[in-house]
């Protein structure tokens, strides 16, 4: 009798186990999704609050703070600064990163590993260290009447310290997938090196270029510490202004700024995903 019971128990346990596993994996997936989404969603909800302070419960809904944000010269200037600096960072880091990656992939370089580590190093450096370093190095530098310190250009250069290694890393991996025989075929048919690079190589790695450029853009847009160290009242970026105004007053305008930043990042990420999907389909064809 007890034997039969044991057998039954075993089958019950055997039947339960996969279910438990399934429930657990779904539960944790749900937890992760909520964990990621809740701060964003709360910020989004708060940005439609009509009150003067960030506070629950919301009694009155409005887009008042959106109007306020887009009507404020100070906030719009910060947004424009952020975007201009992000675009500049993208231009600097993709140009430098792509060419450096091509050099690493194609040419014999002495002490290759050493240079590789050096290029990748800033990516693992704290923003405070880099920001302080750039601030000290360029703090007093002037070119005629043009002062580096506090300029957007300096922030672009500082942000490129992070963005360039990232572009370099992505593009190095991308270039490794290029069939070099195709480039040889171009030379063979009379194509010159620079022309072939732009006409043959670049289209073959367009996915890598687009995604690394968008990553560079997003990195610069999100960066706060270096920007705090290196900007002044005229060139401060959106994250910097948000931090400064958080210290004075926590109005829902901050939530609006957050939503706008988050939205920009979301759009960039979507473009990367769509582009990848399109390229994958092209390859499969």
């Amino acid at each position: 009798m007890s034997e039969i019971n044991l057998a039954r128990q075993a089958t019950l346990q055997q039947r339960l186990e996969p279910r438990v596993l399934r429930v657990l994996s779904w539960a944790f997936t749900g937890f992760l999704v909520l964990y990621i989404l809740i701060p964003v969603l709360i910020t989004l909800v708060m940005s439609f609050n009509n009150a003067a302070m960030i506070r629950f419960p919301i009694t009155d809904w409005s887009v008042r703070w959106y109007a306020d944000f887009f009507g404020s010269t100070q906030w719009m200037d910060a947004l424009i600064n952020s975007i201009v600096i992000a675009l500049g960072t993208t231009a600097i880091s993709t140009t430098a990163g792509i060419l450096a990656a091509w050099a690493f992939e194609r040419y014999q370089i002495p002490f290759r590993t050493f240079w590789y580590m050096l290029i990748m190093m800033p990516l693992f450096m704290p923003g405070v260290v880099l920001g302080l370093g750039v601030a000290i190095a360029f703090g007093g530098v002037q070119l005629g009447s043009y002062s580096f310190y506090g300029s957007r250009e300096l922030v672009m250069i500082a942000h490129s310290l992070w963005a360039m290694p990232l572009v370099f890393m992505l593009m190095e991996a991308t270039f490794r997938t290029v069939d070099y025989r195709v480039v040889e075929a171009s030379y063979d048919l009379g194509g010159r090196p620079i022309g072939s690079f732009f006409e043959i190589v670049v289209p073959m790695v367009s996915t890598g270029i687009i995604s690394s450029a968008l990553f560079a853009f997003v990195i610069s847009l999100n960066e706060f510490v270096m920007a705090l160290f290196l900007t002044d009242r005229d060139t401060q970026t959106l994250p910097v202004l948000m931090w400064l105004s958080l210290r004075s007053a926590g109005t829902p305008r901050l939530a609006v700024a957050s939503v706008i930043l988050a939205l920009t990042v979301f759009v960039c990420m979507s473009v990367i995903m769509l582009w990848y999907a399109r390229q994958l389909r092209k390859v499969a064809r």
Partner: protein, 351 residues
């Protein structure tokens, strides 16, 4: 400008090493205008490196290369009047068939209307009309190689360089394209160097075949001559199938390497010493008429393979292992003694 010698390509004592490895060792060869020369050899014999030296993708370390009499070995690939058909095709993946084919003409600044004309014509020649707007990813392996061929043909180079263009294709397609390249050569009369490790390809297409081994050309001659009159043991061994019988003759007695006597009778006796006797397995007669051949061997039937069109009889005589191809079954069982024979012209002896 040098006097016109009728030579499209002259490679003179060219050498290329990689570290201690000599990839190409004093190779000299010429291609007359309209000639189709094949570099045939096992992998690692230096044939592809030779081709890449001519195309300009590798640098020579000594010697010279001339195209139409003009020295070009210091020129980059884009200044050399050659066009390569790569093994992988190496088509530009983001360009259409027509754009791929037009590329070389555009680089040569040929006027637009002439490009269109020539592209249309060459696509007609390789039977790819109607494929102009396809991308390489939408083509089959054979079609890709046709595009690669058209892309190189259309610029009318002094020498076309083929780098094992058919080796990635399956057999029937390979045979079909092989015949097509031969037809195009007959029609258009281009000069070409064709690298392959497939001897039937080399035999079928070439005006002359250069057999390469360890960076050197062992023999360069017409296909029939290379086949019937090999310059040395390597060439004989590499071209066509053969069985090797290592023999030792001591005071007139023929034995295997271990000294066991072998019942072999050769039309022309061998002097004392070590010999390697080669026969073509498809020329070896087995059974009834074999005993009448000028050369015979008595051996034990080891096992039989069915190869489709023939049976392959594996035989052993002492330490000798040879095989003979015969279309039918023979009335012998495994372990029985069998007599085989062959004509003197189907045999080569090397010391």
């Amino acid at each position: 400008m040098a006097m016109d010698s009728g030579l499209a390509l002259e490679v003179d004592r060219v050498r290329r090493c990689y570290g201690a490895v000599v990839a190409v060792d004093n190779v000299s060869l010429t291609v007359r205008r309209g000639e189709f020369v094949t570099l045939l050899g096992p992998s690692g014999s230096g044939k592809t490196t030779t081709l890449r030296l001519i195309g300009g993708f590798e640098e020579i370390q000594s010697g010279s290369i001339r195209i139409n009499g003009e020295r070009i070995d210091q020129q980059p690939p884009y200044n050399r009047d050659t066009a390569t058909i790569f093994q992988s095709g190496a088509l530009f993946p983001h360009k259409t068939v027509a754009e791929n084919v037009a590329y070389g003409l555009r680089m040569r600044k040929v006027p637009k209307h002439e490009i269109d004309e020539r592209v249309a014509k060459v696509l007609e020649t390789v039977r790819l009309r109607g494929f102009e707007d396809r991308y390489p990813g939408q083509l089959s392996g054979g079609q890709k190689q046709r595009v690669a061929l058209a892309r190189s043909l259309v610029v009318r180079p002094a020498v076309l360089l083929f780098d094992e263009p058919l080796s990635a294709l399956d057999l029937s397609l390979r045979l079909q394209l092989r015949a097509e390249i031969k037809r195009l050569h007959d029609e258009l009369g281009f000069s070409a160097i064709y690298v392959t490790h497939d001897q039937s390809e080399a035999m079928a297409m070439s005006s002359r075949v250069a057999v390469m081994n360890r960076g050197r050309i062992e023999q360069i001659d017409k296909p029939e001559r290379v086949f019937h009159d090999p310059a040395n043991e390597f060439v004989y061994n590499f071209i066509g199938e053969s069985c090797c019988m290592p023999l030792r003759v001591t005071s007139g007695i023929t034995a295997d390497k271990q000294g066991r006597a072998v019942d072999i009778r050769l039309g022309k006796g061998l002097a004392d010493g070590d010999w390697r006797v080669y026969v073509r397995p498809n020329r070896v007669k087995i059974g009834g008429s074999a005993a009448n051949s000028p050369n015979t061997l008595k051996a034990e039937l080891h096992f039989v393979e069915f190869l489709g069109d023939v049976f392959r009889y594996h035989l052993r005589a002492g330490a000798l292992e040879i095989f003979a191809d015969h279309p039918g079954r023979i009335a012998k069982g495994l372990g029985d003694e069998v007599e085989i024979g062959w004509g003197s012209e189907d045999m080569k002896v090397f010391q």
